[in-house]
Symmetry: C2
Subunit: 310 residues, 2 copies
């Protein structure tokens, strides 16, 4: 598989599906993943190892991981809320585990029902499990600072707090830290400043990914700021499905289709073929007929003369 | 009136209204303008001096100009397709005239029914009229290179062609040149490159404004690129009303509400009070009940703890 400039991590099967009421059948999830891989997507967050009573939409995550693992070259990522989830994720064979730690402790208590100290304790336990894996099957372990750009409950989140938590996650044994605009509060100036500050504290190679939302329409503008600050991995969701159910009014991942269009139009190689990606929406439409799909590029079509980066 | 960092030029009463079927009554147009001025908007493109048979939606432009002129400090801008329109605009007392020149000659023939040479001839005639005005009532004369980032008929538009036309507009007597993404084809890398190239050719102070669309969702990302290239004026439309009726599928101005939110969140002063701007949508909703309004910030609301730049 050739090198790419920017890695797009499709999070729809996790972040999208967890925030809607209908439960997508396993077969549709697998078809969705297969079609995205066929379009060139190289990393997919396929689910979350949380109790089925909390998120029945993701109860079949182990089966989805097993299916997704059949694609050579695909990084199969999952969200884990704690060490128990990480144990299940490792058993299922996930390639990448992401543990969220909310910068807002109030949000953390509501979302994960844990204090910062308790989440960091889970991080240490997960790091120990990861280290105990045989090298060939050792998953990548990412700590994700959520509500990093502001909180719907606490309001402003300081840069100092985010830097402190990023350092704490690294100290707890994470391989890498990501920043998440869970609430759609981020603006481009803030993205540039916060990414620069965190990279300065933990190292450029330890912060390479952003999870941005489009809640106030600034998603792609924030991507531009992230790119300029050195970020090379962006999360997005096909059709803009989903968001964070615990941050009211904060729905709306970046739309994968628009993100791919923007990056490829700029001459950045994502490895994704837009002509093949756009029809994948049909799978969502068929499996989730009641859910609205978002995105501008799918409606407008590709510009006349548009060619993806070679 | 205090200095601001970025000038937002509201183009809804022209670009928005010209692309929809319903005709907004004069009283509603005036109420819309009054409410935006009360929210702090300092430049509004209030109409276009085109034959009423072509655009009946803008037939009352002279009356709108007369009303808008009552606001001290407001720049009352209008679009003029030719010298005849400019004559009427000057008679009405417009402060700023914008003549579009489509970089795609095919688009120019369809849109203005004129070749490049013919439009440049009109530019010279308008410049002469503007020069003949008494200094106190001399309007600002802008030439706007439309389809500058690509054309729905010709496809790719070269940078060399846009630079050539910008130089030709300046040579014809324009005070300034703007660039317009009429078709929603622009991407941030292209915005940065083209703005830099045109500024290099005609001078930084001769290209200060961009008219961007959100057709493929990249509007605000392109604003970020424009800001970085030195642009200080951005066109947008309240509720995202409108677009270019002659470029199929190219509707969708940048949403003023989202643009103001982004800039103010970044700490850039637009002079606009978002809390006062958001309710102006009610005027559009009441006067144009069949038209959809766009924008993310109006739905999501302002972030907790958000304060506009002082």
């Amino acid at each position: 598989m050739s090198a790419i400039d920017i890695l797009i991590s499709e999070v729809g099967p996790r972040d999208g599906l967890q925030s809607i009421d209908p439960i997508m059948p396993l077969a549709a999830k697998c078809a969705w993943i297969d079609a995205e891989v066929a379009a060139g997507v190289r990393e997919i967050e396929v689910g979350s190892f949380v109790p089925a009573t909390l998120l029945p939409q993701l109860a079949d995550t182990a089966a989805v991981v097993a299916h997704a693992r059949r694609h050579p070259g695909l990084t199969v990522a999952v969200l884990v809320p704690n060490a128990r989830g990480a144990k299940a994720a490792i058993a299922a064979g996930a390639h990448k585990l992401t543990l969220p730690l909310s910068a807002s402790e109030t949000h953390s208590l509501k979302n994960l029902r844990r204090t910062h100290a308790q989440v960091l304790e889970e991080a240490r336990a997960i790091a120990a499990m990861v280290e105990a894996c045989p090298p060939a099957s050792r998953p990548h372990f990412e700590g994700s600072v959520s509500t990093a750009f502001g909180c719907t409950i606490e309001g402003i989140v300081t840069q100092a707090k985010v830097v402190e938590l990023a350092e704490a996650l690294m100290a707890a044994g994470c391989d890498e830290v990501g920043l998440s605009d869970t609430t759609g509060y981020a603006n481009p100036a803030q993205v540039r400043q916060l990414v620069t500050a965190v990279r300065g504290a933990i190292g450029n190679d330890k912060l390479t990914g952003l999870h941005l939302h489009n809640t106030r329409g600034l998603g792609l503008a924030n991507v531009i700021a992230g790119l300029e600050a050195g970020i090379t991995t962006f999360d997005s969701s096909l059709g803009g499905l989903g968001g964070c159910p615990f941050a009211p009014g904060a729905s709306g991942n970046i739309v994968t289709e628009d993100l791919v269009f923007m990056l490829e139009a700029m001459g950045l190689d994502t490895g994704i073929d837009l002509e093949k990606l756009l029809p994948v929406r049909d799978i969502l439409r068929a499996a989730l007929p009641s859910e609205p799909l978002y995105g501008f590029t799918p409606d407008a079509g590709l510009p006349l003369g548009f060619r993806a980066a070679a």
